[in-house]
């Protein structure tokens, strides 16, 4: 459709205007408000013991969650794309559940299983394992909400590359594992990388599910996003902005990684 120039420019202005009002100006303002008081203030604000603990806890949770999601994602994608078994479509549909469920419901669900009076909580407590109000609970919540990312990135790539190379490897005498490591995995690497980036961003930024199961104990189970909320509620607006800016920088890094890996992915 070749629209005339005024229409095209009009549409462009509306589209960019919507993005500016909703997205760019607010995010820009948060950075402005953060650095309004000077770099020194921001630095002090994100290097308090509570903030450093929150940062390391957040990174620790991501470091546990993301490899788990990556392994699950590749296995599940293989099963979905290459497998022929009854219930495959059901499994395929169920994998999307975490994307459609409210994070608060996720938190509640974990509470009801692993909490003090939950299904498995008492037994785990007897074994000396505390899940809720402790790091394992945060990890479980994060694994839950970020589970589909890798599957949904790897599965279409697997489908597209087909099975010919794998068959060739098998014909030449490669075992199943050898085929997987030498042929399948390298072929899906950019899809996997993209899924890992999305999964990492979600793991670092998760708030709702974590805020239910963590108990928000300062210096113990407080992640960066929970710290933002606490500072805001304690009227420490500048502190909340500083922690937010740190998270926003991570988000911008994510976008950068997405566009670099995305380009590689579409080349391959």
């Amino acid at each position: 459709m070749s629209v005339d120039r005024p229409t095209r420019i009009g549409l462009r202005v509306v589209a960019l205007g919507y993005l500016a009002v909703l997205l760019l100006v607010p995010v820009g303002l948060v950075f402005y408000r953060t650095f309004e008081k000077g770099l020194g203030f921001v630095w002090d604000s994100i290097t308090t013991p509570a903030a450093i603990h929150a940062l390391f806890l957040t990174l620790e949770v991501a470091a546990i969650t993301v490899p788990l999601n990556a392994a699950f994602g590749v296995l599940a994608a293989l099963a979905l794309v290459r497998g022929r078994f009854p219930g495959r479509r059901l499994l395929d549909a169920l994998i999307d559940l975490p994307f459609a469920i409210s994070p608060v419901v996720v938190g509640l669900a974990l509470l009801l299983v692993f909490g003090r009076t939950g299904w498995l909580g008492p037994a785990l407590a007897d074994a000396g394992i505390q899940v809720i109000f402790s790091v394992p609970g945060i990890v479980l919540a994060t694994v839950f909400v970020s589970m589909p990312f890798v599957v949904r990135e790897v599965a279409p790539v697997l489908k597209e590359i087909g099975e010919e190379q794998e068959q060739a490897a098998a014909t030449l005498g490669a075992g199943a594992w050898q085929t997987f490591w030498r042929v399948t995995l390298p072929a899906v690497r950019w899809g996997l990388a993209y899924g890992v980036v999305l999964s990492t961003a979600r793991a670092i930024g998760e708030f709702g599910a974590v805020s239910v199961v963590s108990g928000k104990i300062a210096g113990e189970t407080e992640t960066l996003t929970l710290l933002v909320e606490k500072r805001f509620q304690n009227f420490d607006l500048a502190g909340a902005y500083a922690a937010s800016a740190l998270l926003a920088l991570i988000a911008l890094g994510t976008l950068l990684a997405m566009s670099v890996i995305g380009a590689r992915k579409s080349e391959a």
Partner: protein
């Protein structure tokens, strides 16, 4: 013979496939399905009456209703604006387009609590432009518009890129005006993508929590959304009530997922 050959052909990587199936089913059951089952069981523990009383309490009904309304409205707005933005990103040429394109995903990458704080900075009490909508229903709408922005754009963009322009040119050469071409040629091709993006956005809106919790002010019967209602019930040690409303939300999520799948199956059948 032929069935054996077929079998060999379709499963060269039989072992990782079978292993993957077992492990991934187990993992999904343990982390996702078992906890969700616990929510359903807990909601009906006191019998159906307890469930119904919790769901039909005035505050719960108000929260659910507002959640549905505001999610529908935000979905509608983003379906229109998202399609428009996708069109501009695919068909228009301007400086900085690649940057704009990369920034579309920002709402996916930005933590929801930061999104809420961000909107509050511009449209809250300390607004530099003098617009203060904090703690109003409009603020909730704004938050949902922000977090669901990428869905429709990202689902329409690839379809628009692949769209065969010959049809549009043919329509134009036959004298159709741009408006008619858009309505009769482009729109029908984009509609499945718009609907599936919108459905995802709607599901996200219904469950949204982080971006709404600060900016809504959580006023019962006014700005309280379902997810914040559930959160408050958990905080005030009423897991039964929280579970009941959660089951309603879960039902909605399932409904949307089924709708997307059905629409997808329908769309791909028609392509062939």
């Amino acid at each position: 013979m032929s069935s054996i050959a077929l079998n060999l052909r379709t499963r060269p990587s039989g072992r990782p496939g079978a292993l993957g199936l077992g492990i991934s089913t187990l993992w999904l059951s343990l982390i996702v399905l078992l906890p969700l089952a616990a929510v359903v069981v807990r909601s009906t523990e006191g019998g159906f009456d307890t469930f119904w009383n919790a769901v039909s309490s005035r505050q719960a009904v108000a929260a659910l209703r507002f959640t549905l309304e505001v999610s529908l409205l935000s979905t509608l707005i983003n379906a229109v604006c998202g399609t428009l933005i996708a069109w501009v990103l695919v068909r228009d040429r301007f400086r900085g387009k690649r940057l704009v394109n990369a920034l579309i995903d920002l709402p996916f990458a930005l933590p929801t609590i930061v999104a809420g704080l961000t909107l509050l900075a511009l449209y809250g009490p300390r607004s530099p432009v003098g617009i203060n909508v904090a703690f109003t229903q409009f603020a909730v709408l704004l938050a949902l518009l922000f977090v669901t922005l990428p869905f429709v754009i990202r689902s329409v963009q690839p379809v628009l890129l692949e769209l065969d322009r010959d049809m549009e040119e043919a329509a134009a050469s036959l004298g159709a005006r741009p408006g008619v071409i858009f309505a009769r040629v482009i729109m029908p091709a984009l509609l499945p993508a718009i609907l599936s993006g919108a459905a995802l956005a709607f599901a996200r809106g219904v469950g949204e929590f982080g971006s709404v919790v600060l900016i809504s002010g959580n006023v019962p019967f006014d700005t309280q959304v379902a997810s914040v209602f559930v959160y408050k019930q958990i905080e005030s040690d009423n897991p039964g009530g929280a579970a009941a409303v959660s089951v309603v939300l879960l039902g909605l999520s399932l409904l949307v997922l089924v709708a997307i799948r059905t629409a997808g199956a329908w769309g791909s059948r028609h392509e062939r």
